[in-house]
């Protein structure tokens, strides 16, 4: 054994000793914002710990997950832009390969149900499998990721700290990434402060009119306080025949699911452009114009959208003013969620 290897082994042994002596991972309880429903995520199966979240954060920002070490989770889910891929209609992965869809916003995932625009993923834990393996995203095989991680002494330490065992497994890798993502809680917008009755928090007249319009025309799908009902709907966008993406039907095979896509949260919508599953709209005004006068009728169109939403030019301005109150800068610039410099 060379001297260098001996030193590395000694350091690893010392770190592992410290990890075990420390009394195990320290529990973290997710704070549920006042007035919100109970989370749907089963924390009993994957209890949050400081060390589990820290490991997940490290992995989220590590290109080791991708085949050529160029792409991280954050490449398409950047914290400063509501954990989505700003400025790209459809997100791109390794080798500049462009995918089928716009990367979704990641927020309040502990309250979610099915994931992905088409609901292909049934649990937050297993979500990361999809981008890791997709040839247009990270293009890597999970067993390779595990092998690469197990070769790195610093990860052995992090896994020991998080799980009491220094070996990375698929289960532990996925659970730690899920733990980090579960901490993406956005509940600090102006809307939230007003709803909580915080001192000094007040809507302007225009924002108040916008909220009324929102509740009348939008909230049946984008339900408060999460601004999604976690369901799927066809919102009247015509099929892009270059992509032929039929959404939910790709998974269920049912004709009644044709062109249904997941109802996204509208939180931080100011920062999450471009909009829609394929990012076809660059601006919020285009989104509102779509609902006001461009909704395409079809057999699976959401009943609420038949004939479009009657919105005057003034209504659109008011509605936009309200939507901007959903911006949560404390969340977007939370140092606990950003890339950790070492």
């Amino acid at each position: 054994m060379s001297l260098q290897k001996r030193i590395a082994a000694l350091l690893l042994a010392l770190a592992l000793f410290g990890a075990f002596r420390g009394g195990g991972p320290r529990p973290v309880e997710l704070a549920v914002p006042a007035g919100w429903p109970a989370p749907t995520y089963d924390f009993g199966r994957n209890p949050l710990t400081r060390e589990g979240i820290a490991l997940g954060r490290k992995l989220f920002y590590d290109p080791i997950l991708s085949r050529d070490s160029t792409v991280t989770c954050a490449s398409c889910h950047l914290s400063y832009t509501a954990f989505t891929h700003v400025d790209h209609a459809r997100s791109h992965g390794i080798g500049d390969r462009v995918g089928l869809r716009n990367s979704p916003v990641l927020a309040n995932l502990a309250w979610g149900k099915l994931l992905m625009w088409d609901g292909a993923v049934n649990h937050l834990d297993v979500q990361a499998l999809a981008p890791i393996a997709h040839p247009d995203e990270m293009g890597e095989q999970l067993p390779n990721v595990i092998r690469k991680i197990n070769e790195q002494p610093r990860y052995r330490v992090l896994f020991a700290q998080a799980f009491g065992d220094s070996t990375a497994t698929g289960e532990r890798l996925l659970k730690s990434i899920a733990q980090f993502m579960l901490t993406f809680v956005s509940a600090g917008s102006k809307y939230d402060r007003v709803m909580r009755g915080e001192a000094g928090a007040q809507f302007t007249e225009q924002e108040r009119r916008g909220l009324d319009l929102f509740r009348r025309h939008c909230a049946s799908c984008h339900a408060e306080p999460l601004f999604t009902d976690h369901g799927f709907a066809h919102n009247g966008l015509p099929l892009d025949t270059a992509l032929n993406d039929f959404g939910r039907m790709r998974i269920t095979g049912r004709r009644e699911d044709s062109l249904l896509f997941k109802v996204p949260t509208l939180r931080n919508i100011e920062f999450s452009h471009p909009y829609m599953h394929d990012g076809r709209f660059k601006k919020l005004s285009q989104v509102l114009n779509h609902y006001a006068r461009e909704v395409r009728e079809g057999p699976t169109l959401a009943a609420q959208l038949r004939g479009g939403i009657p919105l005057s030019p003034e209504d659109k301005v008011d509605l936009t003013a309200f939507l901007l109150t959903l911006s949560d800068r404390d969340f977007l610039f939370d140092p606990e969620l950003a890339f950790l410099r070492e």
């Binding site: 042994a13 000793f17 834990d125 999970l142």
Partner: protein, 234 residues
């Protein structure tokens, strides 16, 4: 330094150890599986087979899950293996025998198990052991376990590589493809051997048309029914 390393080794062994202490392979009940083609042990190398359509094929992979093993008496479950999900691999002889430790003196009239993974387990997030998604039995493009994976090559195959791949899975209605099987408990024996005849599974398969099934749906359902019919006890 040696002391440190010894400590670490011990700590890791305890942390990663199993709870199988006190249990020896000769104890309990052995549920064994024997993959065959035409009554002969399945060979994954240097063997080619011919089906009823006179199409020649060879097999490369046969892996499947056996789970929820339980002993019954008059239709009621009297013992179920706790948290038992077993990945069996025709290429790994050791994986083909499942050691069970029911209470001593248990008298049953039938033994049941699932070929595949039930729907509840399929929606329970990331799991470990034989259910770890690194084992190649979990889909990535959509959630769900592959209950059985059968792969090989056929001379009339329609793909350039002449390969065939049947990845049978799906956990939700109407495409659930986990199948429950039940056999009589052996009398005066603490083991049961179940044969799985892939020759029967591929007997009527037209490899020139049907070379891949890799998603939940009617085809996976039908093939899961067909596979379930190939499990039998002599």
């Amino acid at each position: 330094m040696k002391r440190f390393l010894l400590f670490c080794w011990t700590a890791l062994s305890v942390a990663g150890g199993t709870n199988a202490r006190g249990q020896t392979p000769s104890d309990g009940f052995a549920l064994a599986f024997r993959p065959t083609v035409g009554g002969q042990p399945l060979r994954l190398e240097n063997a080619s087979y011919c089906n009823e359509l006179e199409q020649t094929y060879s097999l490369e992979t046969f892996r499947w899950y056996v789970s929820n093993i339980r002993f019954l008496k008059k239709g009621a479950v009297i013992w179920a293996e706790p948290a038992g999900h077993h990945l069996l691999d025709a290429a790994d002889e050791r994986s083909l025998t499942i050691r069970l430790v029911p209470p001593r003196g248990l008298v049953c009239d039938s033994l049941a198990f699932d070929v595949g993974i039930d729907s509840l387990t399929n929606v329970s997030g990331a799991l470990g052991g034989d259910l770890d998604p690194t084992l190649g039995m979990y889909w990535t493009w959509q959630s769900g376990y592959i209950n059985a994976k059968i792969e090989g090559f056929a001379t009339v195959g329609s793909s350039p590589e002449k390969e065939f791949q049947y990845h049978l899975g799906g956990y939700s209605w109407p495409n659930a493809s986990c199948r429950r099987l039940r056999f009589a408990c052996p009398k005066k024996s603490n083991s049961l051997t179940v044969e799985v005849d892939l020759g029967g599974f591929l007997g009527k398969m037209d490899f020139s048309r049907n070379t891949s099934v890799m998603s939940p749906g009617p085809a996976a359902r039908a093939l899961s029914d067909l596979l379930a019919r190939q499990f039998y006890v002599r």
